[in-house]
């Protein structure tokens, strides 16, 4: 079990260039089945022992790929996501950042009637440490198998939270980086639903950010969760009105402030951490209090 990735995951890498090849190598060494790469026009090559194909359909038909990890450059990334959806890949994970927002608008609408779940874009990917299943760019050394799920808009904050947990001896059932762009495939709320349904997960770290209302929507779901949630909202001290890297991270209206998000999460029953250095210790306390450690 686990969320989105497990030992049955068979990963195809779309956009099998430098970054794609490097991360495929890391995943293979970790124990993940990276079954092929797709670079149109390069079909037939074998790179680092990984066969390269022309289309995602071939990856599904010839190698049983069921997870696509996308590194295709931003101007062509929407097309790559839609190719994965056309091939009915169950999970497509898009690392690419800088995809035009209107492209993602079209992708999201097209996916509304497809089987494919999209994670990202502009995300670090998904990992399941217990089953050594990794589709992403996260450093593997910081992960420890365990029962805490980690969700974040930001990649590096996933690593940071995981690192804090691991240093305290708290393992992870998995992490899902939902991505920092305005329009993403899977929301924080939907990621919470996945961990709530996962028998290997006992508690969840949710890392949000200023801007938008996605954390409030997640808080609505926290109310009905059986598992404890430790939440941190990045950007509490950021000056308003500036775009801080993530397109989401611009405060738009009172709902976009860290205070509003923290309040919504607190009211929903989440444990809200204000100091980003205390995510791990807070989870340690919560697990103890609930008898989950």
């Amino acid at each position: 079990m686990g969320v989105l990735m497990d030992s049955n995951s068979r990963v195809v890498v779309q956009g099998f260039g430098g970054a794609g090849q490097r991360e495929a190598k890391t995943s293979l060494a970790y124990g993940t089945q990276v079954v092929c790469g797709v670079t149109p026009g390069r079909g037939g090559q074998v790179i680092e022992g990984v066969p390269v194909l022309n289309t995602v359909r071939e990856a599904v038909e010839q190698h049983g790929a069921n997870v696509s990890l996308i590194f295709v450059p931003a101007p062509f990334a929407a097309d790559a996501i839609l190719e994965a959806a056309d091939a009915e890949i169950p999970t497509a994970i898009c690392i690419t950042e800088g995809i035009p927002v209107l492209d993602m608008m079209r992708v999201k609408r097209a996916l509304s009637t497809k089987v494919t779940r999209l994670i990202g874009p502009n995300c670090p990917g998904v990992i399941n440490p217990a089953e050594q299943a990794r589709a992403g760019i996260m450093p593997v050394d910081v992960y420890l198998p365990g029962n805490v799920g980690v969700i974040s808009r930001s990649g590096t904050l996933v690593y940071e939270a995981v690192d804090q947990l691991t240093r305290l001896g708290i393992g992870q059932s998995g992490s899902v980086g939902v991505g920092g762009d305005p329009i993403i495939g899977t929301s924080q709320r939907e990621a919470l639903e996945l961990f709530e349904a996962d028998p290997d997960t006992a508690a969840v770290v949710l890392i949000g950010e200023i801007g938008g209302t996605a954390e409030q929507e997640a808080a609505e779901y926290v109310k009905q969760m059986s598992k404890p949630v430790v939440a941190f909202i990045g950007g509490a001290t950021a000056p308003p009105g500036r775009r801080m890297g993530h397109a989401g991270a611009i405060i738009a209206g009172p709902a976009g402030t860290a205070a509003a998000k923290q309040q919504a999460l607190r009211e929903a029953g989440a444990e809200v951490v204000e100091n980003p250095g205390e995510i791990g210790t807070t989870m340690q306390r919560v697990l103890k209090e609930r008898g989950l450690a």
């Binding site: 927002v101 608008m105 760019i137 590096t156 690593y159 938008g212 941190f232 100091n275 250095g277």
Partner: protein
């Protein structure tokens, strides 16, 4: 990327949104000539990336071409200071000279991306000319919204719905519906991130005109919006931020504190500001080095940080994923050895290639603060800044 008002109006006009007659002028003589062409009272408006220009003296009514020239002479070359610009203000190098309008009513109209449904939303309010966030907070019922479904595109009923909602019925119904459709088209075709007409005016002679307009373009789409991207006015952006942009650094924003930050990832970079605050300090900047996997980008970033007179200490906080900590470490060593950073430096490395990265730092034999934990690193940086400040004060 923001457009000037005159550029925004050019885009709108191209898509059939009616705008006042007028043109941009870069000299008082040009302003005078345009005012003559327009043949009557004109408004002379400073072109700068800020609202509230009127209060700051950037918008003037002129009764005749001579007065227009005089106003232009005052405005061109001024530095416009508003609550949006900060105390340093923005330089003004051009004015928009437009026909003066006799206003009957003011409407608010905009298009932006609504993240949650993942669709553009068109927003209208009968309370034009005001700050829309205030209207939304005080009288939410006065805000009307409709979403553009990419499956079918903007539909005429959406224009009618908004037009009726803001009282543009009767003779105004069809022009208003068409205008709203054209506004939506301008947004979609230009990869807009926001386009705002505030106010859209009904003139006393019954015309609908976009009296003021803001237009921002999605920077991720600039590769296919060349013509708009070329209209970028770099004079409206902070010098160091431009320098960072040119050096290929993901994102740099100047802040008010004294701890220079170099972080990878926007989320960690924001959290670093938070951690510094928790440790009792304030960041001098936000800097996301992104996944730039070359020492040169790190050198450029540290040069920008190091040359900031406000910076008393530097915090390098890297959690490597795609970004490799060893490359960051190499860049940091180079920058310090080149004397680009004279301030005390605290380094925290974790993630990809962290052992190699640490070795690079060890081998360099520099006097660096070193931390493994995030909170600890922030504390050390705040302390270093405090010490540096104290040392300075006692000198």
């Amino acid at each position: 990327m923001k457009l000037h008002e005159y550029q925004a109006k050019e885009v709108l006009a191209r898509f059939g949104v009616p705008v006042p007659r007028g043109r941009v002028a870069r000299t008082p003589d040009e302003a005078e000539a345009i005012a003559k062409e327009l043949g009557g009272r004109v408004v002379v408006k400073a072109q700068a990336h800020t609202g509230a220009r009127g209060k700051a003296g950037g918008v003037k009514l002129a009764a005749d071409p001579a007065e227009a020239k005089a106003h232009a002479a005052n405005i061109i070359g001024m530095t416009l200071v508003t609550h949006q610009t900060g105390p340093q203000g923005l330089p003004v190098s051009s004015v928009l000279v437009e026909e003066a309008i006799d206003i009957e009513r003011e409407i608010y109209l905009s298009v932006a991306i609504d993240n949650s449904p993942g669709m553009p939303v068109i927003i209208a309010s009968a309370q034009g000319g005001m700050d829309i966030e205030e209207v939304a907070a005080n009288t939410p019922d006065a805000i009307h919204k409709t979403w553009i479904d990419p499956a079918c595109g903007f539909q005429p009923f959406q224009g009618r719905q908004l037009a009726f909602a803001v009282g543009l019925d009767g003779e105004h119904l069809n022009p208003a519906s068409t205008l709203i459709g054209n506004l939506a088209k301008s947004f979609l075709d230009s990869d807009g991130s926001i386009v705002e007409i505030n106010p859209l005016v009904v003139t006393k002679d019954g015309r609908l005109l976009a009296a003021d307009a803001k237009f921002s373009i999605d920077e991720s789409a600039e590769f296919r919006q060349q013509a708009l991207a070329e209209q970028r006015d770099r004079s409206q952006e902070a010098e160091k931020e431009l320098e960072a942009h040119d050096a290929g650094i993901q994102n740099y924003i100047k802040l008010d504190g004294n701890i220079g930050c170099l972080v990878n990832g926007a989320g960690l970079a924001m959290a670093t500001l938070d951690a510094i605050k928790f440790a009792g300090g304030d960041a001098a900047n936000f800097l996301d080095i992104g996944t730039a996997n070359n020492p040169e980008a790190v050198v450029s970033a540290l040069k920008i940080i190091g040359s900031d007179p406000d910076v008393k200490a530097v915090l390098i906080n890297i959690f490597g994923g795609l970004a490799r900590t060893d490359i960051i470490a190499e860049g940091a060593v180079q920058a310090i050895n080149q004397g680009l950073v004279k301030q005390p430096v605290v380094v925290r490395l974790a993630g990809t290639n962290v052992e190699i990265g640490k070795q690079v730092l060890d081998d360099a034999g520099l006097d660096l603060g070193r931390a493994d934990g995030f909170a600890e690193a922030a504390r050390m940086a705040v302390e270093a800044a405090q010490n540096a400040k104290n040392a300075q004060n006692t000198q």
